[in-house]
Subunit: 427 residues, 4 copies
């Protein structure tokens, strides 16, 4: 399955006049607020969000999994899927791999394939939360934090191997998410488990190339239901500080206790120079891994508000932080879901760029919360869709990616190619 430039052109032609009209109206409106729409279109077009290789198939819960059909059967087909997304929205130009789900046997060929789709390789992810066949020691009771040295060593080795794969592909970061923890009070010595983790991470850190970062995720619960070894940003931050400058914290929006103020965590980490990256998704109850922005779009906007506040301009913003999606698609077509996620992230980003920062600074200085709300709302209520459409069109992507995806019958073709029962590796 390929989306060609003529597919795109034809589609874009059909909406051209309508789009231009909407764009002009928005440009005019923004102009009155002294905002140059072209500058924003450029920023939107430059912003890229990495697609997780493990989220291209149907996800599932512990209660079951319902097949989607046409799921990618190999790393190559996963790259092809991300290529489809990038062709449609020009904002998904990176892929984040999960080892051992996606071991690139022939790295040169894999890189070439990615190149062909204009894709680069974002952070690589290790996996020590499942046992693989022929694995010597089980991770049932932990990996980097395990009570037994031999298990820790195996997990360290695995991470170092993941770095090697990443190097070969051009990645610049290793993301470590530990499922380590305990299900019952008493099961684990919290202090020792943390010390073991620290020591293990040190060994991985020592194997890190100089221009790499290690991103440490945190999560309060699941798959363990009493404690997790790195439950919160404070613990991740503590570890990142002990490791050194190349270690940073990764924020997954779904990895927080109810009611957590995530945007404040983002601001604190930024101020301390320790925000390394994001896993975007949305959730209502726990780590629900739903489409970004599908439930709390205002929260996403507030997070981008902090990102802009805490960085020196869009270029630094883009380059210093790893932008990734982490999602699971139980009922939606994964590709449609990812298109919607990227669109929502871009909306939040551009709306946050619209915030009148001088005015915001003033009302904050004057302790005028009603004024601050007016400033934020003025940006959030603006309908920025024509601007995002324009960014796509200028980069030869689809004016309306989902509409074209459906019009082309992509899923149907993928099912024909790959079968209705193909199962992608991943959650």
């Amino acid at each position: 399955m390929n989306i060609t430039s003529s597919h795109i052109e034809e589609h874009n032609k059909t909406v051209k006049d309508d789009h231009q009209e909407s764009l002009d109206a928005l440009a005019h409106q923004l102009n009155k607020r002294n905002i140059d729409i072209n500058e924003l279109v450029e920023q939107a077009g430059a912003f890229q969000v990495a697609i997780p290789s493990w989220a291209l198939g149907a996800g599932g819960t512990r209660f079951g999994r319902f097949a989607m059909g046409g799921e990618p059967r190999s790393l190559e087909e996963k790259i092809e899927d991300v290529g489809l997304l990038h062709a449609l929205n020009h904002s998904s130009g990176a892929i984040s791999l999960h080892i051992p789900w996606d071991i690139p046997e022939d790295t040169a060929a894999v890189k070439e394939l990615a190149d062909k789709h204009n894709l680069v390789f974002d952070a690589v992810n290790s996996n020590t939360f499942q046992d693989q066949e022929d694995q010597e020691h089980s991770y049932k009771y932990g990996s980097l934090s395990h009570t037994k040295e031999e298990v820790r060593e195996q997990a360290i080795e695995h991470n170092i191997e993941v770095i090697k794969y990443g190097k070969a592909l051009g990645s610049k970061a290793l993301t470590v998410w530990l499922a380590d923890g305990s299900n019952f009070p008493g099961q684990q010595n919290f202090g020792k488990a943390l010390r073991n983790t620290e020591e293990s991470l040190h060994k991985i850190y020592d194997a890190l190339p100089d221009d790499w970062q290690v991103l440490i995720e945190y999560k309060p619960y699941e798959p363990n239901f009493y404690s997790m070894v790195i439950p919160d940003w404070g613990t991740s931050f503590l570890l990142a500080n002990k490791l050194g400058d190349q270690a940073k914290t990764l924020v997954d929006l779904g990895h927080h206790l109810p009611n957590t103020n995530i945007e404040q965590i983002v601001a604190i980490l930024l101020m301390e120079g320790k925000l390394g990256g994001f896993h975007f998704n949305d959730s209502k109850y726990g780590d629900d891994d739903l489409t970004a922005g599908s439930l709390k779009p205002y929260q996403l906007f507030l997070i981008f508000n902090e990102l802009i506040e805490g960085t020196d301009g869009p270029e630094e913003l883009r380059n210093q932080i790893a932008w990734m999606i982490d999602a699971s698609h139980n009922v939606k077509d994964p590709l449609e879901d990812l298109l919607q996620s990227v669109e929502a992230i871009q909306q939040a980003y551009v709306k946050a760029l619209l915030i009148d920062r001088d005015k915001l600074k003033d009302v904050r200085e004057e302790n005028d919360p009603a004024g601050a709300q007016e400033v934020l709302q003025d940006a959030f209520q603006t309908d920025v869709r024509p601007l995002l459409t324009e960014a796509r069109v200028r980069h030869q992507a689809a004016a309306d990616p989902i509409q074209l995806y459906r019009a082309l019958g992509v899923r149907k073709q993928l099912i024909e190619e790959r079968g209705a029962d193909s199962v992608a590796t991943g959650l």
Copy 2:
């Protein structure tokens, strides 16, 4: 302090051209979607949200209260404040009183004053969660649910008295919120407390005029921290069913446990004919009583989506449900806060009206969640502010209420009239 028609006219003149331009652009955009903007302007203009008399002064927490200045010192001044709001936004044409905080001594005069401001009296609220001076029995351990009959009788009498005041003013509903509950396991016999409450409510119900409703609030905690006698919609619904057709459930958006799906509760109550009214506000942690829409504007939109889904057109929607704000203003000027709340509620309402219901029905029937999201987002992303401005302007209210409020220096004038230390009765 008075806002005159010439204040309004002058203000509206200054934004006239800009507004017309934005309105035309929106009308054009909606026209393409086959939506008549005038119909929506009419619905927005007809929608009224009642202002709580107890939320016109500075609120506080158990840790303290910081004065606002110029707070209304009497029921008359409270009516005057709501009059100011209604003059500014033409959407606050009702006031909801709390007895005994706002006893209308001379009901005829009070009604006349309200008439002068084009205000009607919405639901009246009883208060059995505080002890008043000269009160015979204390509500420390409950009111309608109390273990002692004499306390229950006193609370019943109070509610019947509140109905009398309401009748004199033209209200058509009594809102009962019970603070009754317990702070510690074992303190209360849950079953008996519920039975006592049921019996007490029956006696109040018997005193209800035929064209009145009694609205039963629920709340999971605070001021009691172990249990509340009516903790959830299920208990309120149970009581409303036992009482009869004139009893309904009132939903306060802040009265839910973390992560509750409030829009689903709204849908269930509508389907069962038991949704009586709303207390609008927003919150991040508990019953925070913040400005409506200030934290979760998408949730507010989803609630209105259910309201439109579950009723037969805007007129039924407006008339069968009591629309009220319940908020506390710890750091904002209460009048500014209320203007922002009403604006946010109207935005959610109008955006929900924009939803393409036929298409939504189709995608639901086809189990197409990505399609459903597109339908909702298409409405939510639309910038409806020009439409709401137009609704105000057509009714001789302010194009930008907060801007005019500030330009006129209303708060400053109120402080001059009433003093910097005046304290309104309320939370």
Copy 3:
């Protein structure tokens, strides 16, 4: 694997003197409080908790599953496992089946096998949250609530078939847990989904034998992460009322939003005659399905306090409510976990029986919360373990079930019999 009476006797002999000493000391202490320990021993011995057939193997999360070894490979082996538990604790004399995980092909033989182990069949459970091979319609988008009639019919038929299996085995109740719901706002019409569910349940209810009950579970989230069709007790109660006297609500302790006061729900349902049964487990975050009492033993005690308060004596308590465990064992040996769960449930039950009800009534009447706490604590702090040991010993079960289980090397033998890789059907 069999646990014989001589295994038991030998084990009990080794602890006999110690036990008698502890029992005498407790009897003496209770005697001072005018409590007859023999009466309590009898109640404890009569109390039985059903074991779920789906929880005899290793559980898992969406992140993976770690094998336990020796898991039962068939319904027969599951019955054997429950038999082992019952032999050890004399309190697990019932089994609750999940269809189609445990279809009893030859019901007579299955019943005979159960008889041999002194087991009866508790509530049978339907499963419409997974697709089975050769199933015509998928439950991906719901079952009893589905938008398509043919899917609903299929799910109704399945439930009726489950009733048939249950009848053949001597069950007296059908438990219905629906995974139906939605993952995204807009996906589902809440009202229609509820009406469909109601209608479907009516058809199942019509197929219910006269001496049966249908128990309706509720759950706020998972496997759907935006809404569930029956999210809370209020919705279950609403449905149970519409269906009739044979329909009741089932409370699973893990199926609540954070901070829910479950004991109050129990009290309300009891007062309204609609409490049908329990799924016991414990949790810290969500539906964690951990060992009962392992995290919140005081909550479990408070629930039993309500159960005793709301029923007329132990016999009614035992007979009118279905007592079941629902758990998932990700890191513990399932049989050990279940032994610990039953022990914790019995502790809570017996401690609640120790509550001085007359005194509690008095302090409540006098609104003396400190006094109420003293009354509850007096019961809760009592060490009732000798009493439970005595109940087991009197019924020829093991003084210390887990100790004997380990001493006999049961798991090791099961692995030898069934293999290290056997996988039980279930979660």
Copy 4:
């Protein structure tokens, strides 16, 4: 009101025989587990929990406050109340003051009075969350984090003044709890507010005597409902690290988001040498400030398990950590509530001392969660009340403090002395 040694002796005589019997039985039982009860009695007797001066009157919520009667009208009467508690339980030998609620005008006299009651002064608390009369700048929008330097300076000065009072009384620690934060998105620049706080704390730290500590509290919400400047342990820890060795984190059990694993935070802080002290209380929903152990006694036990795990013996445990209660008494007599809190804390402490640490270490090493649960339960299920009674009796305190408190009619006498309407300063 005085409780004399003859009051105590008479009371203790009445329960002497019963107590001795229970104690002997427990000693015998513990002896079998190779535990010397006398060692535990000594540890229990040495353990002291500081009483907060602000929690000796009736508390309230934002909805109201119900008077208790006999509340202390002055610092002297507060000391007298703590003296009553200490006379009754010999475990409340310290008082923690809140300035400016309890300014000791004549420090020598105040110290002498405390000496008379065998009380010492624990951590002193500053208060920058309320405005005092004649205060130049308001704390409405913050104190140490305020946007205006003059407000920050005022708050710094206040803290330094509190240190002075503390020095004069023999305190060794300053507790800083900041109510600073924001109610609305956009209101506050998170980064700047944190930097301001850091700088302000540095100035306070510089004024700290060498043998003092500054304890930094954290709290996620309330009195602000969108963000707090120090929302979680991570932020407190970050600040404590920046300040230096004399700065530590204080854990208030009620200051956490739903479902937080507090015992793990305790373990991490201990391991990093940054656990400074506790504010004990219990809660179901938020910062409910209920009696310690009244809702989650097992959590309290697990916290003490970590405390013992992470310290080198009882003496270090007692001396290196500040033990304080922080509670609010809305419906209970404050003195009864505090007696119950201290009792619950001591129970948790002694039960945690009973844990078989060698066995726990072994089962952890072997990854045996069921075994770990057995070890913990074996300690938790033990009825340690006779042991605590013995500790009191040996120190000439009351066998049953609450019973004696009621028998002596203490509250009645306090009301006679101080009036039914006296109001203590505090929450």
